[in-house]
């Protein structure tokens, strides 16, 4: 067990997997010589050479399509899209090729590939560089979509992603790269579709993922210390498949739920969670499920505007305050 950053966990995991399986290779802009815009691939070109760490021209749809082709033959490409924002250029290869080919062609060929990409806001990178479009991907059958919130999960889930025989969208968050956490040193995988009870509680469930899950945990811990409410935090980790069971069981216990998400509220991730809860735990709901999400604007650049648009701890606290049961916790 070592305390390492999210960045380092990703880097080490990539190194592990490149070492373990000669069919794994990396592809993306600036990942080789430059070692990645966010240095996730540091040292890997030197160690594995240019056949295993392929620098590409600026052509997102092109190199995602290349990954599909390589995956069809049985290689395991791990693509880095410099930031989540540029994945939008590759939607066709993801939707119509990566996600569908196994089904459309009657199982002729699996597409074992991973697209890793960092998204999220809060860095004053403005509207085209601060996006959270996970709902686009989570909607698509044939894809797995995951978004870990801490270094240990990042390691286990990236291993699962690379070893999985289907296309995986692996969403990172710029704001998490420097986050540290204990990461077991041995080889381990974390199955997709298993949410984690990041923290148990009895008054209310906060359901989240990625950076907001780590924020939710902080907020819950603070409320515990302040002797206010006992908040249960469900860290989804995987958006498709979605672990309905863990969500529903938690809400059955607490009777109240908040979805805390960094994306736009309308037609966002929280919509599916709230819809699922009311479907499967209706008789256990003591109040409507709340969604705490970003203001629906392209994320602005200047700090006062960005702060006004982004959701965060304050918004979550307000929602908890409104939703939590009126009694003091035991």
């Amino acid at each position: 067990m070592a305390e390492i950053s999210f960045r380092q966990a990703l880097n080490e995991t990539l190194r592990d997997e490149l070492t373990r399986d000669e069919n794994v290779f990396l592809m993306g802009e600036e990942i080789g010589v430059f070692e990645g815009s966010y240095k996730i691939t540091a040292g890997l070109l030197k160690e594995f050479g240019p056949k295993r760490v392929v620098d590409t021209p600026i052509a997102e749809n092109g190199f995602v399509g290349m990954a599909v082709g390589a995956a069809m033959l049985g290689l395991r490409p791990v693509v880095e899209i410099m930031t989540f924002n540029f994945i939008v250029l590759a939607m066709d290869e993801i939707l119509n090729h990566a996600a569908k080919i196994h089904y459309m062609f009657g199982g002729q060929t699996p597409i074992p590939m991973v697209i890793r990409t960092p998204g999220g806001g809060g860095q004053q990178l403005s509207a085209t560089h601060s996006q959270n479009l996970e709902t686009w991907f989570a909607h698509i059958p044939g894809l797995h979509v995951v978004a870990p919130s801490n270094p240990a999960d990042a390691k286990g889930m990236l291993k699962t992603a690379i070893r999985n025989n289907n296309p995986v969208i692996f969403i990172e968050h710029l704001g998490l790269y420097n986050t540290k956490g204990d990461v077991p040193e041995e080889d381990y995988t974390i199955p997709f579709g298993k949410a984690k009870i990041a923290r148990e509680g009895t008054d209310l469930t906060v359901i989240s993922y990625s950076r907001m899950a780590s924020l939710a945990l902080e907020v819950a811990n603070r409320l515990e210390q302040e002797n206010k409410w006992s908040i249960e935090v469900v860290d989804l980790r995987s958006l498709r498949p979605l672990d309905k069971e863990t969500i529903v069981n938690s809400v059955k216990k607490t009777g109240r739920a908040i979805v805390f998400e960094e994306d736009w509220r309308s037609y966002g991730i929280g919509a599916e969670i709230a819809a699922t809860i009311q479907e499967e735990a209706f008789d256990y709901l003591d109040a409507p499920v709340k969604r705490v999400a970003n203001v629906e604007v392209p994320l602005p650049y200047s700090k006062p505007l960005e702060t006004a648009a982004l959701t965060g701890a304050r918004q979550l606290l307000e929602a908890i305050d409104e939703l939590a049961p009126r009694r003091r916790r035991r």
Partner: protein, 338 residues
């Protein structure tokens, strides 16, 4: 280039089989037994068959919608093809897709996706795999004149050239993309000029002359196989039918069509083979009878095959866990991979 008599005869046979199969598919469509659209290689046969004939074991193809002929050459049976068109449960796609969306990973045929141009990056990925695995195989990708205008065409060819990938692209320039004539698609005369933008060799040939196609392909394949990178061949041909069998193609000037009909690739090749005494009237009649029998057999086989079971609709969305053998490697479960 010296081609053996047997190769020439086989080439001719595949061209005829392509036409006979497509004619039958067209009839089935007109009889309402096929849903969707029927796109044929009528007039293109020299290009699609000629190009595929030049491949070797282990090569892959990345075909487009008028490349039934390539599938035949690479070993997909007429029975499989008819099962596909009639959407049977035992079709290559298990009824999940239809028409030309066949694919056959056992024969190195990358499944065709409709989005034009988008299969070219995929072809590069296949070629990259061959390069990584130090094989001397190549990828033959095909696209129409229309598809050369897509962004993916550009991203793929540029990439292939930078990475020196073993890729040959055949552009089947049939004068039209749907109803749009060449002149409203691009402002150049020869699509092989596009190769200049990537620093790769390109040439344009008469796509209705199967020998010319085969020779040009040979040059391109030698280049690609030798590790020098991709090559492009434009085959100038013509779509003598509508875009699909539902299209009357009134927008095509009748004189133009008439002119191209005179250049029919089958007739031309037949005349050559007869002149060279490779084919005789008798052997031709015999071959045609065999082909008809093969087509008849394929149709009745397909008709007797069961439709897929609706209850299986959710199968195959995700591939199961477990090790995957790399296509083309000895341990791969692909014995028929030519």
């Amino acid at each position: 280039m010296e081609l053996e008599r047997a190769t020439l005869l086989q080439t001719y046979r595949f061209m005829c089989l392509t036409r006979a199969l497509e004619d039958r598919i067209r009839t089935l469509f007109l009889q309402g037994r096929i849903a969707g659209g029927v796109y044929t290689a009528r007039g293109h046969e020299a290009t699609t068959v000629g190009a595929a004939m030049m491949l070797r074991d282990g090569d892959c193809i990345v075909p487009q919608h008028r490349d039934l002929g390539m599938h035949l050459v690479r070993g997909v049976s007429p029975r499989s093809i008819l099962c596909q068109w009639l959407a049977r449960g035992n079709s290559p796609t298990l009824g999940r897709d239809g028409q030309m969306h066949i694919g056959d990973m056992h024969h190195g045929i990358v499944p065709m996706i409709s989005m034009l141009g988008e299969s070219l990056p995929v072809a590069c990925g296949v070629a990259l795999t061959m390069k990584m695995k130090h094989r001397s195989t190549v990828v033959l990708a095909a696209c129409g004149d229309g598809a050369t205008n897509t962004g993916s065409f550009h991203e793929a060819l540029n990439f292939a050239s930078v990475q020196k990938l073993p890729l040959v692209l055949v552009i089947e320039n049939n004068g039209y993309a749907y109803s749009t004539p060449a002149a409203r698609q691009f402002a150049i005369q020869n699509l092989s000029e596009r190769a200049l933008a990537y620093g790769m060799p390109g040439e344009s040939v008469d796509g209705n002359d199967v020998l010319a196609v085969m020779e040009a392909l040979e040059r391109a394949l030698v280049h690609a196989r030798s590790g020098q990178g991709p090559a492009l061949v434009e085959c100038k041909t013509f779509r003598v039918r509508g875009h699909s069998e539902s299209d009357q193609a009134d927008y095509v000037p009748p004189e133009l069509r008439a002119e191209w009909l005179k250049k029919d690739p089958l007739q031309r090749f037949e005349a050559y083979l007869m002149q060279e005494d490779i084919l005789t009237t008798t052997s031709r009649t015999e071959m045609m009878a065999q082909i008809q029998a093969e087509v008849d057999d394929a149709v009745s086989y397909a008709e007797q095959s069961p439709a897929p079971d609706g209850a299986t609709v959710s199968h195959y969305v995700y591939a199961p866990d477990g090790p995957i053998a790399v296509v083309g490697e000895p341990e791969a479960d692909n014995p028929h991979y030519v």
